[in-house]
C-alpha cells in the first residue's frame, strides 16, 4: 500500500501526520519527498546528514565555443530560456534547464555535449520499524521532480509506504502523488487552509486520485470551515488532530507526539487500516 500525504500550503501538518503515522505502524517505509525542505528526519533520524548520500544527476548542455557559429538555433529552440546568446557566445542557465536534450539535437555544428550535474541527494536511515528515505534538492536548484523520481525508485512494495509530498499543486507534488494508492490531504481550519485545500483537491480530481482529509490543529469553533466544504463535496474526513499546546511543544522539541501520547498510535493505525479498506473496496468496485 502506498499512501501520499500532501497539503495546499506549507506548515499545515504534513510532517506531523507522516512521522506520527510512520511511528505507529510496523514494517513501514517513510519517504520524505518534500525535497526543498525535508524535515521528517528531525523526528526520525536527526543524524541523517552525517550518512553517505547518493547523488541525483541530470544532464545539462555544455557548448564548445570553438565549434559554435552563433547560429542561435539552440537558444530559439529552448522553451525554458535556459540558453541565451550574448555577444555570439551561448550562456547556459543550468537551474532552468529541463534536461530535454533538444538543444544538442538542433545544433548543426555538434557543438553541444551534455554533462552530468548533481541537483540533489538521496539519503537513507533505519529507525526501528521505519525504513526512512529522504530526497534533498541542492541549494539554488529549481527542478525537484528528478529527485523525487529517484527517491521513488527506493520504494519497497512489501512495506507500508508513506510519502511525505511537497506542498502545493505543481509538478513536484504531482510526481510524489503519482502511482500512490491513496492520498491524505492535510489541512487546518482556517480560511487560508480551506482555500489551499480546495486547490489540492481540484488537482487530485484532475488526476483521478482517491483521497481523504485530515484536519490538523482541529478546533471545534472553526472545524465547520472544513467540515461544510467536505460535506458539500462528498469528501471523507479521516481524522482530526487537535490544536493542542502539548503537541506543539513536543513538535518544537523535535519529538513526534505519539512517543509521549501513546494512545494516539492506535488512532494512526486505525487511520491506516481505514484507508486500506477503502482502497480495497475501490479496487473491487472498479473490477466489477
Amino acid at each position: 500500500m502506498k499512501i501520499s500525504i500532501l497539503s495546499g500550503k506549507g506548515g499545515t501538518g504534513k510532517t506531523t501526520l507522516a512521522v506520527n503515522m510512520a511511528l505507529s505502524l510496523k514494517n513501514v517505509q517513510l519517504l520524505d519527498a518534500d525535497v526543498e525542505e525535508p524535515d521528517d528526519y528531525i523526528f526520525i533520524s536527526p543524524d541523517i546528514f552525517e550518512t553517505e548520500a547518493e547523488s541525483v544527476l541530470r544532464l545539462i548542455p555544455e557548448v564548445d565555443d570553438d565549434l559554435c557559429t552563433a547560429c542561435k538555433k539552440c537558444v530559439d529552440f529552448c522553451e525554458y530560456n535556459a540558453l541565451a546568446m550574448m555577444l555570439d557566445k551561448v550562456l547556459v542557465f543550468p537551474e532552468i534547464c529541463h534536461s530535454c536534450g533538444g538543444c544538442k539535437i538542433v545544433c548543426p555544428e555538434n557543438a553541444i555535449t551534455e554533462v552530468e550535474r548533481e541537483l540533489g541527494k538521496i539519503r537513507h536511515a533505519v529507525n526501528g520499524d521505519i525504513d526512512f528515505w529522504q530526497g534533498d534538492l541542492n541549494t539554488g536548484e529549481e527542478k525537484a521532480v528528478p529527485v523525487i523520481e529517484k527517491l521513488k525508485t527506493k520504494m519497497d512494495a512489501d512495506k507500508k509506504i508513506i510519502i511525505d509530498s511537497p506542498p502545493g499543486t505543481t509538478c513536484p507534488t504531482v510526481e510524489a502523488v503519482a502511482e500512490t494508492d491513496y492520498s491524505i490531504v492535510v489541512t487546518e481550519p482556517t480560511p487560508f487552509g480551506l482555500h489551499d485545500m480546495d486547490m489540492v483537491i481540484e488537482m487530485l480530481r484532475e488526476i483521478e486520485q482517491p483521497f481523504g482529509v485530515v484536519i490538523n490543529r482541529s478546533d471545534e469553533n472553526s472545524d465547520h470551515l472544513i467540515e461544510d466544504y467536505c460535506t458539500e463535496n462528498n469528501i471523507n474526513i479521516l481524522l482530526k488532530i487537535p490544536f493542542s499546546r502539548e503537541i506543539a511543544e513536543l513538535y518544537s522539541k523535535g519529538t513526534a507526539f505519539v512517543k509521549e501520547m501513546e494512545s494516539w498510535k492506535s488512532k494512526f493505525q486505525l487511520l491506516y487500516y481505514d484507508i486500506v479498506r477503502e482502497v480495497n473496496n475501490n479496487e473491487k468496485n472498479n473490477s466489477n
Binding site: 537558444v75 540558453l83 546568446m85 550574448m86 555577444l87 550562456l91 532552468i96 529549481e142
Partner: protein, 120 residues
C-alpha cells in the same frame, strides 16, 4: 545610444516603468540621439520559467547599450553583463521620461550585481 526600459504600457515617454524586468509588459527601446521610441512586447512575461533570461535576450537582440530598470534578478544580470550592457537602477515610480533625464544628469546608480533574488 540605445536605452531600453521595461514599461507597463506603450503610451510614449509618459509610460510608467514596470517594476519587474523579466516579466515587464513592454520594453521601451529609446534612441537617445533623437529620443525616438519604440515599444516591443515582452513575450517572456508569460513564460513559466526563465523570464529574466528571455527578456535579457530580447534586449541584447535589440542592440541595447544601457538598460534602466527597477530590479535585476541574478540570471538577467549575468546575461546582460555578459553582453556588455550597462545597467542602471531607478525607482519604479519613475516614468520613462524622468528615468532618461536622471540618466543624462548622472543621478542614476550603476548596477554592479543582481538587485533581487529573482523569481522562479
Amino acid at each position: 545610444m540605445k536605452i531600453i526600459i521595461p514599461s507597463s504600457s506603450n503610451k510614449g515617454l509618459e509610460a510608467e516603468i514596470d517594476s519587474k524586468f523579466g516579466r515587464a509588459t513592454y520594453f521601451a527601446v529609446i534612441d537617445s540621439d533623437d529620443m525616438s521610441i519604440e515599444f516591443v512586447k515582452n513575450d517572456s512575461a508569460s513564460q513559466a520559467s526563465g523570464a529574466g533570461v528571455g527578456a535579457a535576450q530580447l534586449c541584447a537582440d535589440r542592440g541595447a547599450d544601457i538598460i534602466i530598470a527597477n530590479d535585476f534578478g541574478p540570471k538577467a544580470f549575468y546575461a546582460l553583463d555578459s553582453a556588455g550592457i550597462e545597467m542602471y537602477s531607478v525607482s519604479s515610480e519613475d516614468n520613462l521620461n524622468s528615468a532618461i533625464k536622471s540618466l543624462q544628469s548622472g543621478s542614476l546608480t550603476k548596477v554592479t550585481g543582481p538587485t533581487s533574488r529573482g523569481k522562479r
